[in-house]
Symmetry: C2
Subunit: 224 residues, 2 copies
DNA sequence: TTGCTAAGCGGAGGTTTCCTCCGTATGTTA
DNA sequence: TAACATACGGAGGAAACCTCCGCTTAGCAA
């Protein structure tokens, strides 16, 4: 019958403590375990659900529960870490994709990745909602990174003459968000991917569209 | 170290079981306690946070923990009950307001209530997110009720000649959602209320606007 | 009003999860 | 290689979850 419940003060006055900043001073094994924990947490959220026990996550990562708590003092902390990691990965993928394929194709693949990202976001949305509500810096952090990545992709594709010149990054982001908004049923992801293919066709310039069929590469959706 | 965690199957095959339907066959004390529990839960969510312990809620309601679990077998169930109750209350308020004041004023007051509703919704959004994701019937239930209420209010106000004739219910709902979207800081609610006052002014016909100042009732924001 | 009965109540207690604490192990630096 | 700081692991206490069952009481019939 104590007065308070669980953690009434989830926001200590200490600074937000960016992931990179604390990785800088972490010992090698510490960094490795931290990585493993995030990986395990992501898998566990996906397979078990947003309310996996933290001990299950530690077990999957092959570390002790104490290690988990040292790296992530609260459940929110680990959820946020998984989310941040997804965002960074998605943003970083833009540059990677640009480097390894034609700009238009890169844009297309990235939009498909975006759907995966939203899926992750939804999965942990329950736990995340609370965080996002408290400190909005997480939200602006992710929104900024993603907007930048999309702008970069569009620039390159436009410069290469693969897409129409009048496409605005903001519009496209809104379109993507719209395609993925409010869907909860199992078929959602497949549907969103189909719509993205169609959208991508609409974005292409006539010449770029024509260039897709003649050679042999008429199936641009090979990558899982 | 068992395989599963907590409640891996939160969606039994039984039908949704509307609140009214099961209240019909409840004994008087049962109905009373159920009501008390929802009331206590709403207060507790507001004062303590979305992760109040269920035992705290039972204590506040003045009932045993067993009673709580009989009425609400899972945490989701009680969260959903609070939410549903808010929605029903908000929708029902439309008819009440229409009956007790001029139609334009009723529309205005109802929009202010809408802000309270969003506040509640946000508060329990963390817990709710999971539910809404699983079964979307809750979402459509609330969206439908609220859209109907708003349409009713608009109809009356339009018929009374208090607002411009070209206002679409969907547009106004979108506007309301927009006013309240994405705000998490403390000042949000006050800001939204101010914006609603402005919006309402814009909706009024010139004659209705003129009719507000001459008499003595020039402070239409009396109601808390 | 009285008595009967099923519906409902309450909370003890087993189970699970959370989280801290501290002795042990290991990476890092000199 | 030695010494030191950093990180690891898991035992264990506190708290929350949830079930189960004996007791109470509302509702009804006579």
């Amino acid at each position: 019958m104590s007065g308070k419940v669980r953690r009434p003060a989830p926001r200590p006055p200490g600074e937000p403590k960016g992931a990179a900043e604390q990785a800088r001073t972490l010992r090698a094994d510490g960094r490795r375990n931290r990585e493993r924990l995030i990986e395990a947490a992501k898998a566990a959220f996906g397979e078990v659900g947003a309310d996996v026990s933290l001990e299950e996550i530690a077990r999957r990562a092959g570390v002790g529960i104490g290690t988990l708590y040292r790296h992530f003092p609260t459940r929110d902390a680990i959820v946020e870490a998984v989310y941040r990691r997804e965002v960074v990965h998605l943003a970083g993928a833009a540059a990677r994709l640009i480097g390894s394929m034609p700009a238009g194709e890169a844009l297309h693949q990235w939009m498909r990745l975006f759907v995966d990202y939203i899926a992750t976001k939804k999965l942990i949305a329950a736990a995340l909602g609370a965080i996002a509500g408290r400190g909005s810096d997480l939200y602006s952090f992710s929104a900024g990174l993603i907007a930048d990545a999309l702008a970069l992709l569009l620039d390159r594709a436009r410069a290469a003459g693969e897409i129409r010149p009048d496409v605005d990054p903001g519009d496209l982001l809104r379109a993507l968000a719209g395609l993925t908004y409010g869907n909860a049923d199992p078929g959602w992801q497949a549907s969103a991917l189909r719509l993205i293919d169609i959208l991508m066709d609409g974005l292409r310039t006539p010449s770029a569209r024509a260039a897709l069929t003649p050679p042999g590469r008429d199936a641009p959706r090979s990558r899982a």
